[in-house]
């Protein structure tokens, strides 16, 4: 095998590992990424005398295929979730985002609290017909709010027949409100903060990070 053939083989191995690591990326987008990375490798090694050495260098600078794929998916996920109305996708993305910093952690807490409130309202709307007198929006010695008191007779229930429509509306509004707030937070994130930091990618695996640090 000549050096040129072996570096071609290394490029193919790199691209096929990248392809399998890009799970969850639409096939059009995946083809586009692979084509662009291939063009980049070819351009980088094009005019160099030591072709095999140049290929090695560019593959090293690209990082492992798995790291590169992870960076693509983190970059794209926030963008996708900020356009989505799916609480599940938004919650998952906030979890990923939380690993990147304070703002993400805050978003994750907003997501957990907001969606928990919406879920508990929804569940109580469905439970109300089965426990018409015990479940309600009470105030009294046992507390205030949406509760199932041990002694309902000492408590005052505020909503009466309006319980189901009011709580259903509250469930709907808290779900929509949480979603919109998180979408807004994702869109408003400061430029640059969505770039994966060394916390999500160990410094040793990021040649760029090392280059940024050592230079100057």
């Amino acid at each position: 095998m000549t050096p040129a053939q072996s570096s071609d083989a290394r490029i193919e191995t790199y691209l096929s590992r990248l392809e399998s690591a890009l799970r969850g990326v639409s096939s059009d987008h995946k083809d586009d990424i692979l084509r662009e990375i291939r063009a980049h490798i070819m351009d980088s090694a094009e005019h160099s005398v030591d072709h095999a050495g140049a290929v090695d260098r560019v593959l090293r600078l690209l990082g492992t295929p798995e790291d590169l794929a992870a960076r693509y998916s983190t970059e794209c996920q926030l963008e996708r979730a900020s356009r989505s109305f799916s609480p599940w996708l938004i919650l998952r993305t906030c979890w990923q985002w939380a690993k990147l910093g304070v703002k993400g952690t805050l978003a994750f807490f907003v997501a957990v609290i907001g969606y928990s409130v919406a879920l508990s309202f929804t569940v109580s709307v469905f439970l109300k017909p089965f426990m018409p007198t015990r479940l309600g929006w009470f105030s009294g010695p046992e507390g205030v709010g949406l509760i199932i008191p041990r002694h309902p007779e000492v408590m005052h229930e505020w909503l009466g027949n309006y319980f189901i429509p009011v709580i259903a509306a509250a469930a709907f509004l808290s779900a929509i409100g949480t979603t919109q707030l998180l979408r807004w937070m994702m869109r408003k994130r400061a430029p640059g903060l969505a770039i994966p930091t060394e916390r999500s990618f160990p410094v040793a695996q990021m040649p760029g990070e090392a280059a940024i640090k050592l230079r100057g």
């Binding site: 400061a190 640059g192 230079r215 100057g216």
Partner: protein
């Protein structure tokens, strides 16, 4: 040990600073011309000393495109393979202008603030 950790913190701060400027630098590099990935990397490293790893640039380009700030097109090149050229969309130009404005204002004020520090150490350096 203390000096070491201070040094690490300094380097870390510098890395964060450079990273924070990366998006603006990428948009700025496309202000005057359509470029493909490798040309953007070269432009950044030549003009701003921002050494960006290939593996960092392409995912960011992909996101900026998804956000509608950039658009791209495959162009057949003499090299024998097509290259993906990027350019700023109207919202991308707007964003670049906003970022450059904010950067200018911010850096002007900070330059005034750090002037005594830079001035003193600069003068000290000359004396030696």
């Amino acid at each position: 040990m203390a000096t070491n950790s201070n040094g690490d913190r300094g380097q870390n701060w510098e890395a964060q600073l450079r990273k924070g400027c990366l998006e603006m630098a990428i948009l700025a590099s496309l202000w005057q011309a359509r470029l493909y990935g490798l040309e953007i990397l070269r432009a950044l490293s030549e003009t701003s000393q921002l050494e960006v790893a290939e593996g960092t640039l392409y995912p960011i380009l992909s996101r900026l495109k998804a956000e509608g700030l950039l658009d791209s097109e495959w162009v057949e090149a003499e090299a024998g393979h097509p290259r993906k050229y990027y350019w700023l969309t109207a919202p991308g130009r707007r964003r670049a202008r906003e970022m450059a404005g904010a950067w200018n204002e911010f850096s002007e004020k900070l330059t005034v603030l750090v002037q005594p520090i830079v001035g003193v150490s600069g003068a000290g350096g000359k004396e030696r």
